[in-house]
């Protein structure tokens, strides 16, 4: 009986701590609601929080949230998967082969700082406005940080470790798969974690620019017809998606790489 009361008090304390942590967010929401209700800013520009939430439910039941979101997520993750596969292979190769490094380094140096979103018109031209162009654009954008992250992970393996393995008769292939790749995994995972939001952003933005379904296109559509509450709904959907994915990445890291403790 006393145990249950103690547990209840503990849960209450945790809830209170969570609320205290979020107080700036609640403050912002409160301010927003008050300003909108008092119509200090016209409802066309700033609908109330409650209006936005109502619109969310309406859109949800009309199927205008889940379907576009799944489309965007599909594009983002398909592109990311391609980028991870090519990026990791290229990064490992660059770390092990001086010629691969010589050949790819300038291309990576040039591509990394380039605003790859500028390639949207080209990808639309070559691959149409449906899934393929978005997936490939995501892949094109995300491959660069994946190469860099993998390269650093592979290059960070101390040469004494490699020499020991070579002295024990490890072939190049085994060296890559059993020593270098595992050692590079924390870096690779870090790279993926940082690149997931990039993949999302590219998918959303490409949809905003070129249309063709997905949350980005829906957002632009709402804006063109001045449906402000809908605009806010989609912005919040994008925000929530990003947050959830980041949390998932954190959990995954714990599960996949428990031996490495990198502070956040």
């Amino acid at each position: 009986m006393a145990e249950r009361a103690h547990a209840a008090r503990g849960a209450l304390a945790a809830l209170w701590a969570a609320l205290r942590y979020c107080y700036p967010l609640l403050l912002v929401l409160l301010l927003w609601e008050l300003v909108a209700r008092a119509e200090l800013i016209r409802p066309l520009f700033l609908p109330t929080v409650t209006t936005v939430l109502e619109q969310f439910w309406v859109l949800l039941f009309e199927g205008e949230i889940v379907a576009p979101l799944l489309v965007s997520l599909y594009r983002a993750f398909a592109g990311l998967a391609l980028a991870v596969v090519f990026g990791v292979l290229a990064g490992l190769w660059m770390a092990r082969s001086k010629w691969a490094h010589w050949a790819l380094d300038p291309l990576v140096s040039l591509g990394f700082p380039a605003p790859k979103i500028a390639f949207v018109p080209i990808f639309i031209l070559w691959f149409g406005i449906d899934h393929l162009s978005k997936i490939l654009l995501v892949a094109f954008t995300c491959v660069f940080p994946m190469i860099v992250a993998t390269y650093h992970g592979a290059a960070a393996v101390s040469r004494t470790v490699i020499w020991s393995a070579e002295a024990m008769g490890t072939s190049e292939r085994k060296l890559l798969s059993r020593i270098i790749f595992p050692a590079a995994q924390p870096y690779i995972f870090s790279g993926v974690r940082v690149t997931v939001p990039v993949a999302l952003i590219i998918a959303f933005t490409a949809e905003m620019i070129a249309g063709g379904g997905g949350v980005g296109a829906a957002l632009m559509f709402a804006q063109r017809f001045f449906q402000t509450p809908t605009v806010f709904v989609y912005i919040l959907v994008m925000l929530a998606t990003g947050l959830v994915l980041d949390l998932v990445m954190l959990r995954l890291r714990h599960w996949l790489i428990p031996w490495d403790d990198e502070a956040d």
Binding site: Y21, C22, Y23, P24, L25, V28, L44, F45, K98, H101, W102, L104, D105, P106, L107, V108, S109, L110, F112, P113, A114, P115, K116, I117, A118, F119, V120, P121, I122, I124, L125, P145, V148, Y151, H152, A155, P197, I201, F204, T205, M208, I209, G216, L219, M220, A222, Q223, F226, T228, V231, F232, Y234, I235, M238, L239, T241, G242, L243, L245, D246
Partner: protein, 274 residues
């Protein structure tokens, strides 16, 4: 990125060989350009989809001569770099406040953590609704995109200042407000610069995204426009221009970092950071 220099084993010493070595570093790009030109010349790819490198350069040259490229690049640079500067200054201030004041940390921390995951391009349609098409929408998006990486890197940089450095400064009579300016910021400057480098990448992406979504001017608009009207050589020309400009800006920032941070004992390791 220039993670390390190409095989040093061959060609040591002498200015001719250092020229050759520099040329050797860019040879892969020349090879790609050559392949590009050949592929189109040999009609392996439909010219409608891929203008040759020669055509692209000619189009770019024409746009430079009639001022089109320069005007639009300047507009985009004004928006991107202007937003970067404003975002960086505010970002450093907030990051510094968060790292030195618990109240500031409690206020901004949750806000930063939440908006980190929001793609700032999603705000462009909202800003168009509020401010119309133009510089305000564009620069505001850039400022917001640059804020977060700078805040986070400043925060971590200041938090990582060894206490003995702060203690030494205070023992030598440094008043509190001077500690922020003369001790914390210089000590954290590598971290801050790294954050600004990330923000530099973002500012171009945001500017171009906003221009492609809706704008009357700018290099993003130029690329989009020529894409829509089918003048692909000009589209590629504009693309080439912005890729070169973004690369040059990144190199310039790196050079500035190397100069201002030449005292840092791990500046060379940091340079390899992509």
């Amino acid at each position: 990125m220039a993670v390390s220099v190409a095989p040093r084993a061959w060609l040591q010493g002498g200015s001719l060989s250092s020229w050759l070595r520099a040329a050797g570093r860019y040879l892969p790009i020349a090879i790609v350009v050559l392949v590009w030109q050949l592929v189109v010349e040999l009609d392996l790819v439909d010219r409608a989809f891929l203008p040759s490198f020669g055509e692209t350069v000619r189009a770019l040259w024409e746009m430079t001569r009639n001022g089109e490229i320069v005007v639009n690049l300047l507009v985009s640079l004004y928006r991107a770099l202007g937003g970067l500067v404003i975002g960086s200054i505010i970002g450093v201030a907030i990051g510094l406040a968060m790292a030195t004041s618990r109240r500031a940390d409690q206020f901004f921390g949750p806000l930063v953590a939440t908006t980190y995951s929001l793609p700032k391009t999603s705000l462009v349609p909202l800003f168009i609704l509020w401010f119309g098409i133009g510089n305000v929408t564009n620069m505001l998006s850039v400022v917001l995109a640059c804020l977060l990486p700078v805040i986070v890197s400043t925060y971590h940089g200041v938090k990582a200042v060894p206490p003995v450095i702060i203690w030494s400064a205070r023992a030598m009579g440094t008043p509190h407000r001077l500690v922020l300016w003369r001790i914390l910021l210089p000590s954290a400057s590598l971290s801050i610069f790294t954050g600004i480098r990330i923000a530099l990448g973002f500012c171009f992406v945001l500017t171009i995204s906003a221009e492609m979504i809706a704008s009357r001017t700018g290099i993003g608009k130029l690329i989009f426009f020529y894409g829509e009207s089918g003048a692909y050589a000009y589209m590629f020309g504009g693309l080439l221009a912005i890729v070169i400009v973004a690369y040059a800006a990144d190199r310039a920032l790196l050079a500035a970092m190397h100069h201002f941070l030449r005292w840092h004992d791990s500046i060379h390791a940091a340079h390899a950071g992509g």
